[in-house]
């Protein structure tokens, strides 16, 4: 690279690593002119992405997602809840995104990362407004009986269901841990959360003596006197799964799926979330010195469309691998 430099500035006399640290913008400019990025990717290409379902044994659903070296571990635990009065036939979703100090030199213990609550909020907004999870499916005892029991409490005794209608719903608590932060955190976090949802199973439950809902493990189910109140484990049906792609706008370039270094050097980020039927779930551009024109926005959306196809395939493959096991 240095040899091809006719202008004779410092880069000719300096080691590449030193030049990269001292003049990061010029270092990137030099690459972008050649339509390539320092890690060898073309501008519009995302890094290699892998998914592993069921990474956490103690969780009801879990997944490990890697985009380049950015690593996210998502785990879902189910808890029993009473539905809110304004939506009596729905369960609930709570999402928490954590950045422990192991993930990045910027995060110190006791001083939580500024980005964490913002990404948490973005994730719950995206997942709730995409409608990927039907909250009505988070009902423990699906079907009419439970519904009736709710509508006519006085008739509850007539039915052989002792279940308290109030404790008939599940709240899915999604905890996402960033294990390695190297850019595009939201994309990786969303992917891991979606994958964990597709791995989630609603377990077989029964009621114990106190009327509390208890999970039956397979062998235990035969021994106990308590009859299971729902027939079998089931998965949630995910409709219109949202996938996202973050791009950097820099001069007239659009760089897909930036690394942490790229994010820190070129500050204008834009995140597009499309669902599997290509509806727009979110278009997020929080400021940045580069203005986005309609043509650039459309380019970002086109890149995201392409990425949705890639990610859909990766998710399908991960799920079919699970079924083989």
């Amino acid at each position: 690279m240095e040899a091809a430099n006719p202008s004779g500035d410092l880069s000719a006399e300096m080691e590449v690593d030193a030049f990269r640290r001292l003049f990061p913008l010029r270092f990137f400019d030099r690459h972008l002119v050649e339509s390539i990025r320092p890690d060898g990717r073309p501008l519009g290409r995302a890094r290699d992405t892998t998914l592993a379902l069921g990474a956490v044994a103690s969780a009801d659903g879990s997944a490990l997602a890697k985009i380049g070296s950015t690593t996210m571990l998502a785990a879902i635990k189910l808890e029993v809840m009473t539905p809110a009065t304004e939506s009596p036939d729905e369960g609930s979703i709570a999402i928490d995104f954590h950045m422990p100090p192991i993930c990045s030199p910027m995060v110190r213990p006791g001083r939580p990362a500024e980005a964490a609550p913002v990404i948490s909020k973005q994730l719950s907004d995206t997942i709730l407004s995409s409608g990927v999870i039907n909250l009505k499916e988070l009902c423990l005892i699906s079907g009419k009986a439970a519904w009736m029991a709710y509508l006519y409490p006085e008739e509850r005794n007539n039915m052989n269901l002792k279940v308290d209608k109030l404790w008939n719903f599940m709240i899915t608590i999604v905890d996402i841990y960033c294990l390695d932060a190297d850019g595009a955190l939201f994309d990786a976090a969303l992917l891991s959360a979606i994958a964990a949802f597709s791995h989630l199973e609603i377990p077989v439950v029964s009621l114990d003596e106190d009327g509390r809902v208890v999970i039956l493990s397979q062998d235990e189910g035969l021994k106990t006197s308590n009859e299971p109140v729902n027939a079998e484990k089931r998965k949630l049906t995910l409709s219109d799964i949202p996938f996202s792609l973050t791009c950097i706008l820099y001069k007239n370039y659009i760089l897909a799926d930036p690394t942490a270094e790229e994010e820190s050097v070129m500050e204008t980020l834009i995140t597009v979330v499309l669902d599997s039927s290509y509806q727009l779930v979110s278009l997020y551009k929080p400021g940045g010195s580069v203005l986005a024109y309609t043509s650039a926005l459309q380019d970002c959306i086109a890149l995201t469309r392409h990425r949705v196809q890639e990610l859909k395939k990766i998710l399908d493959e991960a799920m079919s691998e699970m079924e083989v096991d």
């Binding site: 956490v56 571990l73 100090p101 841990y177 493990s217």
Partner: protein, 258 residues
Amino acid sequence: MSGKGGSAPHPTTYSPSPQNQKRPKSLIFKDNVDWVRPDGRGFQHCRPAFLRTGAVNAASGSAYAEFGNTKVIVSVFGPRESKKAQMYSDIGRLNCNVSYTTFATPVRGQGADHKEFSSVLHKALEGAIILESFPKTTVDVFALVLESGGSDLPVVISCASLALADAGIRMYDLVTSVSVSCLGKNLVIDPIFEEENCQDGSLIIACMPSRNEVTQLTITGEWSTPKIHEAMQLCLDACAKLGMVMRSCLKETASSQE
């Protein structure tokens, strides 16, 4: 637009998981010599260990350790600038922190008292690091317990020394750590979560195997002197073996990089 759920403070909830801890099944055979451990191991057998360095790219050095169900990641940052409030120091500083994920334990968010773990980790490692080699600066050792399956602290300590080696921090030797639980008359090495819950006493040793030096020794609960001797010897032997496993893990990484 769906504005419901999510951020709204959800009503009180409970976990439907059966409470294993309420009825400990293992206690019945405390004094029975024929007792078999829940995972079928012999009393003096450690769990199979999986170790790998370079788990976190953002860190100067890192390691992942998996002992049975105990899964731990440790990242090392630095040597880097000390916090501004600290005074000049001829030797380097070591800063340790241990935290748990919310799903590490069967009931969400019931991580152990890891405040204490941070200081124990600090003490276990400090003696092995050549602090003179990085004056004025700080090395940060951060551990995250992904899943807690018993013997968490010894796994964190061993994993941390591996991460320090990966970061190229100069040490006198690797620190390896193993614990033993006393269950009635039996001594079991590398106890799992269920065994730790009904133990009478616990002994944790952190040592530098090639120098045969102990950096940290913690004994809690009820012990007799001969039992302590027996347990220490058990631990030291296991530490020596673990040291060899860790060494070969480092060699593998080094040779694969060439």
